[in-house]
């Protein structure tokens, strides 16, 4: 947020007690208005409330995480299915300007960069480790870049095509998102069944000439997975996923687990 606070009113020490209560949501209703008026013109109290607010943000982290009954998720998804959202008209992230996501990513990069830089110095004596760490850093940077590009595509209102799980994987779901920046399409999949190490998921673009390899990616683990297809489907073609031997094959041999038309 780029809001700037100006010192328009004199700082009042008595207001600092209210700053703590304000951040915790414990301020009395009668004092809230008075404090908010002061806050609007006092840079020192604004900074204090930001700091206290950050502390408050951390407080729920002190509690132990707990499991939730499985049927809560089922009920939630049933509610969601009966209550379609009207898609937001305006993108929530401006694609042409650096966003807080970008800044956060940059900070994470810089952190990762510092950490890895320090490790690289140590690993000069350990060539293998040096190589491995640099490889891991490249993976992290590539993943963050892919996510940034995906966010930018979504924010720009990129066309999205739904993939549905077949009888082989009824819970699986996915989407192909066209990259308005001209890159290869994104493929987002979720809830694919886990596979043994000697199997992989392989994507195909199926057109009039038959299926064309669109890339392989690691087996599902119940979460979601974002990658890019290495083939761009055209209108009327189908994108499908099959289970294949690790490394992929030239033509599909396994059952289709996820598919959708473009």
């Amino acid at each position: 947020m780029s809001r700037r606070y100006e010192q328009l009113v004199p700082h009042d020490d008595s207001m600092e007690e209210l700053a703590a209560a304000f951040a915790l949501g414990a301020i009395e209703p009668g004092e809230r208005g008075q404090f908010e008026t002061h806050l609007a013109g006092c840079a020192r109290c604004s900074a204090l409330v930001r700091d206290y607010g950050a502390v408050v943000t951390l407080l729920p982290s002190s509690v132990d995480q707990m499991d939730v009954s499985l049927d809560v998720r089922e009920r939630l998804m049933a509610d969601v299915a009966t209550e379609p959202r009207v898609p937001a008209v305006e993108p929530r992230v401006a694609p042409t300007e650096p966003t807080p996501i970008d800044r956060a990513r940059t900070r994470r990069f810089s952190l990762s960069g510092l950490a890895v830089a320090a490790l690289v110095v140590v690993s000069l004596s350990f060539g293998y480790w040096n190589y491995r760490l640099q490889s891991e850093l490249r993976d992290v940077q590539q993943a963050a870049r892919l996510d940034q590009e995906f966010v930018a595509a979504l924010a720009a209102g990129a066309p999205r095509y739904t993939l549905s799980g077949t009888a082989e994987a009824p819970s699986a779901h996915g989407a192909v998102v066209i990259d308005p920046a001209g890159g290869q399409p994104f493929l987002l999949v979720g809830d694919l069944p886990s596979l043994p190490p000697d199997r992989t998921y392989q994507a195909w673009v199926v057109g009039a000439a038959g299926p064309v390899d669109a890339g392989v990616f690691p087996s599902g683990s119940g979460g979601s997975h974002l990658t890019r297809l290495n083939q761009a489907p055209r209108a009327g073609e189908t994108v499908a996923l099959t289970v294949e031997p690790a490394g992929g094959v030239a033509a599909p041999t396994g059952q289709i687990v996820l598919a959708g038309a473009i």
């Binding site: 947020m1 809001r3 007690e17 209210l18 700053a19 703590a20 209560a21 951040a23 915790l24 949501g25 414990a26 301020i27 009395e28 604004s46 409330v49 930001r50 700091d51 206290y52 607010g53 950050a54 502390v55 408050v56 943000t57 951390l58 407080l59 729920p60 982290s61 002190s62 509690v63 707990m66 499991d67 809560v72 009920r75 939630l76 998804m77 509610d79 209550e83 959202r85 009207v86 898609p87 937001a88 929530r92 992230v93 807080p100 996501i101 900070r107 994470r108 993943a143 996510d147 995906f150 966010v151 979504l154 779901h173 987002l188 979720g190 809830d191 979460g223 979601s224 974002l226 990658t227």
Partner: protein, 188 residues
Amino acid sequence: MEPSDEALMLLVQQGDGQALGTIYDRHHRVAMGLAYRMLSSRESAEEIVQESFLAVWRLAGSYHVERGRLKDWLLQIVRNRCIDRLRRERGFGTIGEIDPALPDPQLPEAWVVASQEELRQEVSAALALLPAEQREAVDLAYFSGLSQQEISDRTGTPLGTVKGRMRLAMDKLRQTLWTRAPSLEARG
């Protein structure tokens, strides 16, 4: 690779229910932990968790990544709903969905990238360093949703003392957590 919360939330904003399911899978355990801590009832906490994720779905259009992380926004919804429930039980009015007046909190980077377990350990340790009466003031305000006057009434402590304790507690937490942040970064 796993898509970020921000990417998933953009999909939710565009009406993708599966993306909400993925967000649920990532964050339901911390949401449940907070709700249970505030309500001390598993059944009520589960209701709040379900309601809160449904609120994420309904309010998705009002989420702005500029205002903070999705997890923090979600937990604010959980907390507000728990406070509403507690206040209804006490016969008070409700507080509504989101407090729009709170300026965006700016966490040290170390806290943004820390794991949930690191956060739990560090924040618990910081709270444990507070004198008992200061910790109680923060606890009653944050986890029980009491105002300073209500804390004064409940504990039989003068209002001015409650205010002072809360201020001292927040200062000390800020100092402790900000001091701890560099050591976390060094570990990262």
